[in-house]
Amino acid sequence: MSLSAHLPALQVVLPLLSAPLAVLLRHGGFACAVVTAGAWAAFAAAVGLWLQAGEVGVVSYHIGSWAPPWGIEYRVDRLASFVLLLVSGTAAIVLPYSRASIEREIPREQHYLYYAMFGLCLAGLLGITITGDAFNIFVFLEISSLSTYVLIALGRDRRALAAAYRYLIMGTIGATFIVIGIGFLYLMTGTLNLADMAERLRDVESSRAVLAALAFLTVGISLKLALFPLHQWLPNAYTHAPSAVTAFLAATATKVSVYVLIRFWYSVFGESLVYVELPLPRIMLLLSLAAMFAASFTAIFQDNLKRLFAYSSVGQIGYITLGLSFDSIDGLTASIVHLFNHGVTKAALFLLIGGMVIGLAKSGTVPPAPTFDRLAGLAKRMPLTCFGIVIAGLSLIGVPGTAGFVSKWYLIVAALEKEQFWLVGAILLSSLLAVAYVWRFVEVAYFKPAAEGTTRREAPLGLLIPAWLLVIATIWFGLDTSFTVGTAAEAAQQLVRVGK
């Protein structure tokens, strides 16, 4: 068999193998090389899978040649291939960035462990996305979660420890809820294969156990995706984690959780159960609106730039879940597009902030927190970094010409289609909140006078180049949407067709 036939397995196995290798090597540089190679290979595999899925619709891979539903199936449809690209692509960019970034943030003797954890986290996230087996989702979820807790705890501030601990408690509760949900489903259907499960659920008729499974799964996943008001773990975790970790998590962890939610709602339960039997869409709508307003509003008053954008993430997740609450192809498309666009934008933002704090630090010291009093007149010192943050910020607002605009456009089209005119107003009003928090940064960085004697000192090139790659991607996906919108629309159609 040719290599391309085994791409689904390689997708997960390569980064998974790179992690223990990194531990065995016990050397920061080698570990970095190995894990980066793993991530790039995973990215290449994701591109391959995206192409394959485009040709045949669904790529199904039987682990160990055990046919489903007995064996574990890896299943790549349009949506999975899209998320795989996002996750592996972000990792491929963040890992080279890490080299220069963690130099100052993590003690050198721990570097190889950082890369090992990163590799595990990546393998976990890719595994969640690619697997077609319910229990497998849980296992990969825990692999990624456990490594995430460690990664967050690597932050230099002691608050990183507390944040990691809190995330561990919340995350484990969420994961356990997910297992309970999967357990109920298994009891009712006797299968763990998602496709098989969906089929058998149709015969089960809606029983209370199935609805309980749906509720447990939705709550558990909502905890992991930081749906308002289950987001409390997120701001602290993002604020105190090392910069590269924040960027990677912001772009991928919550997005993969959204993916799991979409997967269960559309591919397993189907529309009738989710949208008719339980008042889930209405709850989702209200919580999304609450996130869009409350979290964005909180963001305006944050003093730490990382924290500000962490709250902004909670708000932006609100847009993604809002799209899910519509129960329409356009709404689903909007969600998927925003999932991708927001991932790219936030990764760019946090990478730039990571470069910024390194530039702020005196040489050889631990980078300080990016609080606003340290950012006065920063544009003079780091013009490229600041300009990048402004562009990414415009994407958060949804200014045309940036990726954020495209998702907002679809969200509004979806709202119009449902004739929910007030929702259109709400979406637009909440983007004005984004203007407020982005402009807080602009005013401080561009118009507050810098301290005496500041000279131009950009962040190191090793940090700027990956960050700017993503900034350019933010603009690119705002102008040429054939890839993002095209894939998302196909994915949405595929999901709805199967879910019917």
Binding site: L161, A162, L168
Partner: protein, 122 residues
Amino acid sequence: MELLAHFSHVVAVFLMVAGLYVVMARGNLIKKLVGLSVFQTSVYLLYIAPGKLIGGTAPILAPQYGLYSNPLPHVLILTAIVVGVATLALGLALAVRIREAYGSIEEDEIIAADNAAEEARP
């Protein structure tokens, strides 16, 4: 009688709620982890109990055994136990590090220390 018929479920739900309660109500980081473990354990029971048939044996394909328990939940829970142990270990490790950094494992004291540090910053 109804309650007794669902004995295993009753136990599982009791453990679940008790565990969650401990996680939420206790400020001590170790006790929280204990609660979390109890919570997770309840799920193990939830899986295992329906797989067991009274009088059933391990699934051995032999003429003298007709009745056997479903092995799949056992296998799944074996994995879940491993995950649970790993989580507990990581949680405890974090608690140790937190004690080194803050000199306490009481949540309210940690929050107070953070707030004090925040205010001390000019």
